[in-house]
């Protein structure tokens, strides 16, 4: 693996953690969020500041994770008040608010961002492997939640929270846990990004990033852990594949995003399921 491949692999793995976090909120619990990048940013800034203050990665990453998760709970409180599209736009607003405030905070580097962040003390490959382990843990955790009664309760909240409430479910607690877990994962991803880039600016955590993550989740097939992981790989690497068509890269990206949703609205997971079902049906008749 050359440095190019290692750097790509690292960013893909970071994005997987990020996207699985959103999948927890949107995919499992049905709370659409257009502000996921803000928590990614909170993790990143927290990690960056602590790292510059001399704390080791174990501490900085953990703090980033906790701070992002705690902020997630606060935003989760909004989800108790507003629903569906109102929530989508509220979380979008949270994203803009985060960015707007960070931009004006000289203590956080303002527009100039934070640079000269110390390295995580590993080689590039070592760091990639470290992220790999964390991404695998995130995936395992997601699968674990999905199969547990908690996942079942999330399904119910996503489907019809009023009915879930009538059936004795403490909807608020579940929504908040989904936000806490999902945003904590975003915070971890942010911390890892900080060590990867060693330079962060507010724009890294803007609306576009939120949308990109949401499209990873949607293209993967909302709620499907493996689908989301696959989509993350594809969507992260896509710009790299298309580098050679520089001028048309973004056009192709946009068109592809549109096309996937238009023709395979269930995302990759839904697409595969349909394909499998067709094969199975054929097998039965044949």
């Amino acid at each position: 693996m050359g440095i190019y491949e290692v750097s790509l692999a690292t960013i893909v793995l970071i994005n997987i953690i990020l996207a699985l976090g959103l999948n927890m909120i949107t995919g499992f619990c049905g709370q659409i969020s257009l502000g996921h990048a803000a928590f990614y940013g909170i993790g990143a800034y927290c990690t960056a500041i602590l790292a510059k203050a001399g704390f080791p990665p174990a501490v900085t990453l953990l703090c980033g994770l906790i701070l992002a998760g705690a902020s997630g709970v606060v935003v989760g409180l909004a989800s108790l008040r507003v629903r569906e599209d109102f929530l989508a736009i509220t979380t979008m607003g949270v994203g803009f608010l985060f960015l707007g405030i960070v931009r004006q905070q000289e203590a956080l580097g303002g527009e100039l961002g934070i640079s000269s962040i110390p390295s995580a003390g590993m080689s590039k490959i070592g760091f990639m492997l470290f992220v790999l382990v964390l991404a695998a843990l995130a995936a395992a955790f997601s699968l674990f939640i999905k199969r547990s009664w908690m996942g079942f309760a999330f399904d119910a909240v996503a489907d019809d929270e009023d009915t879930a409430r009538v059936l004795g479910l403490d909807v608020a607690a579940y929504k908040l846990s989904a936000f806490a877990m999902g945003t904590a994962m975003a915070g971890l991803a942010g911390g890892l990004y900080t060590y990867f880039a060693r330079f962060i600016v507010p724009d890294d955590f803007g609306f576009i990033t939120s949308i990109t993550v949401l499209s990873m989740v949607a293209v993967g097939g909302i709620g499907s852990v493996f689908g989301v992981m696959a989509a993350t790989v594809v969507l992260t690497l896509m710009p790299e594949f298309f580098r050679f068509i520089s001028d048309y890269k973004l056009l192709v990206y946009g068109a592809l995003l549109f096309t996937v949703m238009r023709f395979a609205p269930g995302g990759l997971a839904g697409f595969l399921q349909t394909a499998l079902r067709i094969r199975k049906a054929r097998g039965e008749t044949g």
């Binding site: 939640i145 199969r147 547990s148 009664w149 908690m150 079942f152 309760a153 399904d155 119910a156 996503a158 489907d159 019809d160 009023d162 009915t163 879930a164 409430r165 009538v166 059936l167 004795g168 479910l169 403490d170 909807v171 607690a173 579940y174 846990s177």
Partner: protein, 254 residues
């Protein structure tokens, strides 16, 4: 005996509409109470207020002596106060069985952390299957809720409510949408459940079944309680007949 449910002074307004006006009534444990009243009298609103789905302007609601009007819906449900919807609200993304399994697992999902570490649902599945059998829709168990006929979903709602092991079950027109044979069967099932110890309050317009199975009748009209007592006596009350009864049932009740 102390009342299992004691409701006093429930008033609910929607804008200018007085849906309920200072309604009070009691239910003793083991009773089978039916609630009737003209369309728009406030029956649904009353049980929604009891379960906390609707916020009353004023109310005192006691469950087995405990004041619950400040508890959120899910806590009331955990205390054994459960309702079904007049207009069905299944989880559309689940199968009929899963809908009931979810309710059967109410113990597992009480705490978020408990839910996180429990996986097994075979016990809940068995119970859910039994309940579906009880309501006569076991063969639909694995079908998706979407596209099920109304009658099946209505019964699924009852099964789901039973899965929560209620002490007091509030049923909102469970028999609507069933033909008279199905209705009679379901009414028998409900009566049977009642005999096994669950207190029941049932809203129903199917007077024939109401008179057949219930022990007591509460009548609402225009947001007020206008009668309460032995079914046959209540039905003889001229006010009730004027407000509610058509020609057919007049004959039937007479």
């Amino acid at each position: 005996m102390t009342a299992i449910l004691k409701v006093s002074g429930v008033t609910v307004r929607f804008g200018g509409i007085h849906a309920l006006d200072d309604v009070s009534f009691e239910v003793t444990p083991g009773e089978f109470v039916s609630m009737i009243g003209p369309n728009g009298a406030g029956k649904t609103t009353l049980i929604r207020a009891i379960t906390g789905v609707v916020q009353p302007q004023s109310a005192e609601i006691r469950l087995s002596g405990r004041e619950i009007s400040n508890l959120p819906t899910h806590k009331r449900s955990r205390l054994g106060l459960v309702m079904t919807h007049q207009i069905v609200r299944p989880f559309h993304s689940m199968s009929v069985l899963e809908n009931v399994i979810f309710a059967a697992g109410h113990g597992r999902i009480q705490s978020v952390f408990g839910a996180m570490v429990s996986f097994d649902l075979s016990r809940e599945r068995d119970r859910a299957m039994k309940l579906l059998g009880l309501l006569g829709i076991a063969e639909m168990a694995d079908k998706s809720v979407r596209g099920q006929p109304l009658g099946v979903i209505k019964r699924m709602e009852v099964a789901r409510a039973l899965a929560l092991e209620p002490k007091l079950l509030l049923l909102d027109e469970p028999l609507a949408g069933l033909n008279h044979i199905e209705a009679a069967r379901l009414a028998d099932t409900v009566a049977d459940i009642n005999r096994r110890g669950t207190t029941i309050v049932m809203i129903e317009h199917n007077l024939g079944e109401v008179l057949r199975v219930s022990e007591r009748l509460v009548v609402l009209d225009n947001g007020r309680k206008i009668a309460d007592g032995n079914p046959n006596e209540v039905m003889r009350n001229p006010a009730v007949r004027a407000a509610y009864v058509g020609k057919d049932e007049t004959d039937a009740a007479a």
